[in-house]
């Protein structure tokens, strides 16, 4: 059982009011939150400081226009936040932020992190669909029932880490039938408790990992198996990898939106891998034909060696791919396997070093001696 606050309001409204009161009383100076851009479905993350402007905030809107962990790192790259700021992040976005903080690309200080038990986000493509509102209400119905909603990202459909880590406050959403009647905020840290004193609700003690949550976890694990098998690369290896990535335009959008790919100049955008006349001649002579621009698989596999071990499976990469390559599924699969080998949970603990940057003398002792 965990400490919680129960507010007798619709969940999104309760959270909204709670944050607004923090802002009104200047307990926090700003809120990092999703905001509606206009009448269409477009949303973007915004740092809101004006309580009036805060009315446009939609804290639990089921879209991820950018991975907010990346946006927060953008904000704190050159220093920590000087004043307290509340940030509403999805569990994978917190994990992304932790991974970035680890790489000295951001700073955790002065953030009140609020998250939710996450039902996933809808794909970006659905933003321009005419019946988007209907889709969103269907989404919330499925969250209440702790179901997997078909229009959410593939990466969300098989995400088993939808209970947030490192959040000060967790909003109960998955499997909560009375989402429209009450707002339940779990207080995970003393910091969360302190801020929650401003919430006009009653203190209760509740279970965060309800039966429904466990059910969803199981469902998603099963789906994961299914999807991974669909993106089948086991039997035929190289050929099927070539085919999966065949439509790639080389736009590198996947790397651009990836929170872990933080490099300012990516190796694969640099000159090192470009053809010169000699290289072209020898490859052409040998093969009788070349795909150009070349280096398509080298980019994807190379990027994988760089970031897959820290892949937090947010699914941004698949969502921005203009040619529908299931990037997230392949990377998530590779990532899970690497994380097991190195006994690493990305985004769990900012103090834990990245596997590529550390070693133990006694590990893998049998390797290299054969």
């Amino acid at each position: 059982m965990a400490k919680a606050v129960k507010i007798k309001k619709k969940t999104e409204e309760g959270l909204h009011d709670f944050l607004k009161s923090l802002l009104d009383k200047e307990i926090i100076k700003g809120v990092f939150i999703l905001k509606k851009m206009d009448k269409t479905g477009a949303v973007s993350y915004s740092l809101i400081t004006d309580p009036e402007e805060f009315k446009k905030a939609v804290p639990l809107y089921p879209y991820m226009p950018v991975n907010a962990g990346k946006a927060l790192a953008n904000f704190t790259l050159l220093g920590k936040a000087e004043q307290p700021i509340a940030a509403i992040l999805r569990p994978c976005e917190i994990r992304a932020f932790v991974e970035l903080v680890k790489r000295t690309q951001g700073d955790f200080e002065n953030f009140l992190i609020i998250s939710l038990t996450c039902g996933g986000v809808l794909t970006l493509k659905t933003i321009s669909e005419p019946d988007q509102d209907k889709l969103i209400s269907q989404y919330w119905e499925s969250v209440k029932k702790a179901e997997v909603f078909e229009h959410t990202r593939e990466a969300c459909q098989f995400c088993e880490h939808f209970l947030p880590l490192n959040a000060d406050i967790t909003v109960a959403a998955v499997g909560k039938k009375d989402l429209d009647e009450e707002c339940l905020l779990f207080l995970n840290t003393p910091k969360g408790e302190k801020f929650a004193q401003e919430a006009s609700g009653s203190s209760v003690s509740e279970e965060i990992e309800t039966e429904k949550v466990q059910q969803l976890k199981k469902k998603r694990e099963e789906l994961k198996e299914k999807y991974v098998q669909q993106t089948e690369t086991g039997e035929t290896g190289m050929k099927s990898l070539v085919n999966v990535f065949a439509p790639c335009l080389g736009c590198h959008g996947c790397s651009h939106v990836c929170p872990i790919c933080y490099c300012t100049l990516c190796e694969f955008d640099s000159k090192t891998l470009q053809y010169n006349a000699d290289g072209l001649s020898s490859d052409l002579k040998r093969k009788g034909g070349l795909k150009v621009p070349s280096g398509n698989l080298l980019f994807h596999l190379g990027r994988m060696t760089h970031m897959a071990v820290s892949c937090i499976s947010c699914g941004m990469c698949s969502d921005v791919c203009p040619v529908n390559i299931p990037v997230a599924t392949v990377f998530s699969k590779a990532g899970k396997s690497l994380q097991k080998v190195f006994d690493y949970f990305p985004g769990k603990d900012a103090e834990e070093p990245v596997p590529g940057g550390t070693y133990k003398e006694e590990e893998f002792a049998e390797i290299g001696e054969q």
């Binding site: 690369t233 035929t236 060696t305 396997s337 190195f342 070693y359």
Partner: protein
């Protein structure tokens, strides 16, 4: 595969142990297969995962990473990083269904000329059994 098939193997050798070991093997007139093409790096820790991937995707039939035995690194700890990098590559190959045997890691010290000759010969035989790397003919990479 016919017996005349000569594989194309890229070997990355660290300057202080493996390269010296290979040198000793040469001086001692040990038989080293001509399929091995050596590239010297200062430390096996310099072997970027991309070097290996690039060699593999450009059609090398095998890629060998070689360095000092753990604890013997000239730079104290470079080879521990190499080992992790190899584990990473090995695991990626396994997960993606690529031919794992096309990459490998061996520790060869400066005095182990015998071992250098042994592992290069063994690996060449192994690759011969495996046949040419399909990436060498794949156009749509």
């Amino acid at each position: 595969m016919n017996s005349k098939y000569k594989p194309n193997i890229i070997a990355f050798l660290c300057n202080w142990c493996s390269y010296t070991g290979a040198d000793l093997a040469g001086t001692a007139r040990m038989k080293i297969p001509s399929s091995i093409k050596t590239i010297r790096v200062m430390c096996s820790g310099r072997i970027d995962a991309l070097f290996v991937l690039k060699a593999f995707l450009k059609g090398a039939d095998g890629v060998m990473m070689m360095g000092c035995h753990p604890g013997d690194c000239h730079y104290q700890k470079g080879n521990y990083n190499t080992r992790r990098r190899y584990v990473l590559l090995d695991n990626l190959f396994k997960t993606l269904g690529l031919e794992k045997k096309r990459i490998g890691l061996w520790w060869v010290s400066a005095s182990e000329a015998n071992r250098y000759a042994k592992v290069t010969n063994e690996y060449t035989e192994e690759i011969k059994k495996l046949g040419p790397n399909p990436t060498s003919e794949e156009i749509f990479l």
